[in-house]
């Protein structure tokens, strides 16, 4: 079920009206049941998968913690890893693996072909398996004690605001909150409402209105010139950010209303001064997860340079593959891996420190350019199409520069400008208490009326509703 659907508004209304009358224990159970209902309305058969995953990981956590010997702990952790990665391999990567094995067989002249099972991808599988994996690893490392109440654990795994597209919450961030949380707190209501409306604005007004132009260019890039390809790629950079961060804002807002805190996932990523910096600000919960549970265990950067490069290669390969079972995502991951490796090596040179005088703006623009270039791989339907767009973007004079550029309308330009201003403004006020002042200095009637006004604006100016991009991961 999408946050943008009318069913969800009904679901939320009934959920909140019931939540009023429940105490903390009842509410945890109710959130869990509501989350299962939320998930089953999207895909009922996959609910069983979620339930099985929850039960297995709950008992795996207990088993790891209860084991006295290191080897037994490792055994249970391995079983948990095998189970979770097996789920991903089966439900997300089976077709991809079979297709690639078949290609390999045919290259080797073998006639054998593996059947492709064509399993429907369970929504949010990448998220709930990573959440579960993180939980097991934290217990193995002794960083977190397992929960003994399966309802609390189920609530942690299936909490509906973050179930299908994150953020990837860690047990130590979420589970302690269940011991003492208060729904319908006035301060949280204002923050929650504000976040939800900002999220809807980003998604419905900006991302959904930008997407038709992007879809058109990426649907058939041969019909467009260099200018349209550049504009479409920049538009996609904005669309993806507004789509995903919009979803996260809504998720965080809903969670706030319920009285629970979800972690930030974005911190003005397009104002990053390097690609490494970008990954500390973009989809933060995933990049920190990959860093803590993959890159550092592999040895991180505290090893020889060749080893570090191999670690980076593996990490970025995994990062790309996490996003989807396609070579375009792998290529996108490796593209970032190469840039990050380059930045790593440059940062160790004395020469780099002499470049500190360069102001922030050129660095921000260069980083944006590099990241945007990478989005071509992320958005293109296949590598051939990506190569064509790259060609058009790089060899500007090779064809009709302005072919199809008229598709980029004034509205697209206005939306891009609005998003840039919003992004910058949000960055400027990040440490100020302006939102807090607005909430405390105004009467609740004024605040609620302004929320209604903003909602009316969103209803009128929302684009054709498309599903959240990160739902597919």
């Amino acid at each position: 079920m999408s946050f943008l659907s009318s069913e969800f508004i009904f679901f939320l209304g009934i959920f909140l009206m019931t939540a009023i009358f429940l105490n903390r224990h009842q509410l945890i159970l109710f959130i869990t049941l509501a989350s299962y209902l939320f998930y089953s309305l999207g895909s009922l058969p996959h609910l069983f998968l979620l339930l099985i995953s929850t039960v297995v990981n709950f008992y795996a956590g207990i088993a790891i913690a209860a084991s006295l010997s290191r080897n037994r702990k490792k055994l249970y952790l391995t079983l948990s890893l095998l189970f979770n990665l097996g789920l991903l391999a089966t439900f997300k990567y089976a077709d991809f693996l079979a297709a690639n094995f078949n290609n390999m067989f045919s290259l080797l002249g073998m006639t054998y072909t593996l059947p492709q099972p064509h399993i429907l991808l369970p929504i949010g599988i990448s998220y709930f398996t990573f959440v579960s994996l993180g939980y097991s690893i934290d217990i193995y490392r002794g960083e977190f004690k397992p929960v003994t109440n399966i309802i609390d654990f189920s609530c942690f795994i299936s909490f509906f605001p973050k179930l299908v597209a994150g953020p990837i919450v860690r047990a130590k961030e979420f589970l302690p909150q269940l011991k003492d949380f208060r729904p319908f707190n006035r301060q949280n209501m204002d923050t929650g409402f504000g976040l939800i409306l900002i999220g809807f604005f980003k998604k419905a007004v900006i991302a959904d209105n930008i997407s038709p132009f992007v879809d058109k260019v990426y649907g058939d890039p041969s019909q467009f010139g260099s200018a349209a390809c550049w504009l479409a790629t920049i538009s996609f950079a904005v669309q993806l950010y507004c789509d995903f961060s919009g979803y996260i804002d809504i998720a965080r807002g809903l969670s706030k209303i319920i009285g629970l805190e979800l972690p930030h996932n974005f911190r003005w990523p397009y104002l990053s001064e390097s690609v490494r910096d970008f990954w500390r600000r973009w989809h933060m919960t995933l990049s920190f997860w990959i860093r803590d549970y993959l890159y550092i265990p592999l040895g991180g950067s505290r090893c020889s340079r060749p080893r570090m490069l191999i670690n980076l290669f593996i990490t970025w390969f995994a990062m790309g593959l996490w996003h989807g079972a396609s070579w375009t995502y792998v290529a996108w991951g490796l593209y970032h891996g190469i840039i990050v490796s380059f930045e790593h090596m440059m940062s160790n040179l004395k020469f780099t420190s002499r470049l500190a005088f360069i102001p922030a703006l050129p660095k921000i623009l260069l980083t944006f350019l590099l990241v945007t270039f990478g989005w071509v791989l992320f958005r293109a339907s296949d590598l051939t199409s990506a190569a064509l767009i790259f060609k058009k973007m790089i060899f500007i004079g090779s064809g009709d520069l302005l072919q199809g550029v008229s598709e980029f309308q004034k509205l697209n330009a206005a939306l891009l400008s609005v998003s840039i201003v919003m992004h910058y403004f949000a960055y400027r006020v990040r440490d100020s208490n302006i939102p807090g002042l607005i909430f405390t200095k105004t009467h609740w009637v004024v605040r609620v009326a302004s929320y209604a006004l903003m909602a009316a604006f969103i209803v009128i100016f929302s684009g054709k509703a498309a599903n959240f991009i990160y739902f597919q991961f």
Binding site: S5, S6, I20, F184, M189, V448
Partner: protein, 391 residues
């Protein structure tokens, strides 16, 4: 006595439930919980009910006001060059504007699909009726893809007490057995839709239909959101101009005779949306379309509004199209005649307009009349209605 006991028992169970639910089971705990619930209810009502009230005020008092309706309706865009949701919304917006007009003159309403939008000239009909000393205000309530099941859903407009006659002009696809996915947000009435949809068919798709239908039924802003956006876009780009003609196609649109119609095409697959509508109307005796017509006639009878049911002319050549291929319209006409006559409506058969249907030059495609066909049909319709009313 027994009732008091039951009340006390329920109260006890509730108190016990709330007090045991938190740690401890004493009265202080219970009072604390009730205080918490009271606070939550207060905050909930402020934020959620308050939000809904303000949203309703914006939607109905400002954007949905008569003042806005009367100024925006003449500026609605023409069919060509706009998306389908805007087209559907602007038509109902126009109908709602006509409905809101404060005149007290008796009305005669023509309702049906885009064949009615393009095939009925109410100005021409009005003149003919006036000449016959019949003082009615004819209004065209046609809307693209309007099916028979939607008649009771539009009862607010169709069964207004100023409407003395409603003329329903159906197509051979009007009695399908599915909700129109593009019309749900715009042409909806939840209670009537629930009556039409039997319980066995309420699945995931119906949940989506009903939940989106309810919001659009309650809020004008949601019902016409795409139309408002289009008007705003046209306003800022200085394209918000009075609509030059009432129908979908320009008045000077020349008669079209499509050459490839001389070659018969095979039927479209039954899962094709349009094809399934024709097939349902033709093959099934009970569909939401037929049930909807029956229900509408029943409501009209209760409201004292007289109804005429007739087929809108469709060109003979339409059977060459994949959607209508193999459909015997006489079978559909017979089912409709039976429903109409059993429910007190006047039924006018197809035989009277055969001469229009035979001339392909009266049409621009397989369902829409061009201006030649419109004039011819409107003249016939006016004369025929004058005859019925005169009785």
């Amino acid at each position: 006595m027994k009732g008091d006991f039951v009340t006390l028992l329920i109260a006890f169970v509730l108190i016990r439930y709330f007090s045991v639910a938190e740690s401890g089971s004493n009265l202080i705990n219970y009072i604390f919980i009730m205080k918490t619930i009271r606070e939550r209810l207060l905050i909930f009502s402020q934020y959620f009910l308050g939000f809904l009230i303000f949203f309703w005020i914006i939607s109905e008092i400002f954007i949905g006001s008569d003042w806005v309706f009367h100024r925006l309706d003449p500026l609605r865009p023409t069919f060509i060059g706009i998306d389908m949701p805007i087209q559907v919304q602007k038509q109902i917006y126009h109908i709602e504007k006509l409905f809101r007009e404060p005149d007290s003159q008796a009305r005669i309403i023509f309702v049906g699909s885009s064949s009615v939008v393009n095939g009925v000239d109410v100005g021409r009909i009005g003149n003919i009726l006036s000449a016959e000393s019949i003082d009615y205000r004819p209004l065209n309530y046609g809307a693209i893809g309007l099916y028979a099941y939607e008649l009771p859903l539009l009862k607010k407009y169709l069964l207004d007490q100023r409407n003395e006659w409603v003329v329903y002009l159906y197509n051979t696809f009007s009695f399908g057995d599915t909700f129109h996915p593009q019309a749900i947000r715009i042409r909806w009435n939840t209670s009537e839709a629930l009556r039409l949809a039997n319980h066995s068919r309420i699945g995931a798709a119906e949940i989506t239909h009903f939940s989106s239908g309810i919001f659009s039924e309650v809020f004008t802003l949601i019902r016409y959101s795409n139309f408002y956006e289009e008007c705003f876009r046209r306003f800022i780009s200085n394209r918000l101009k009075p609509t030059p003609y009432e129908w979908d196609y320009p008045a000077e649109d020349p008669p079209v005779t499509i050459k490839d119609l001389s070659v018969a095409q095979g039927p479209a697959p039954s899962e094709d949306f349009m094809r399934s509508l024709y097939l349902d109307s033709f093959l099934k005796n009970e569909t939401i379309g037929y049930t909807g017509l029956r229900r509408f006639l029943e409501l009209a009878r209760q409201a004292g509004i007289k109804v005429i049911v007739a087929p809108i002319p469709e060109p003979d050549m339409a059977v060459m199209y994949p959607w209508k291929n193999g459909i015997d319209e006489r079978v559909i006409d017979e089912k409709v005649r039976s429903i109409a006559e059993n429910n007190g409506a006047v039924f006018i058969g197809r035989s009277e307009t055969e001469y229009i249907e035979k001339q392909s030059s009266n049409f621009r495609d397989h369902v829409h009349a061009n201006w030649v066909g419109r004039n011819e049909y409107s003249d016939w319709l006016a004369g025929r209605i004058a005859g019925v009313i005169g009785k």
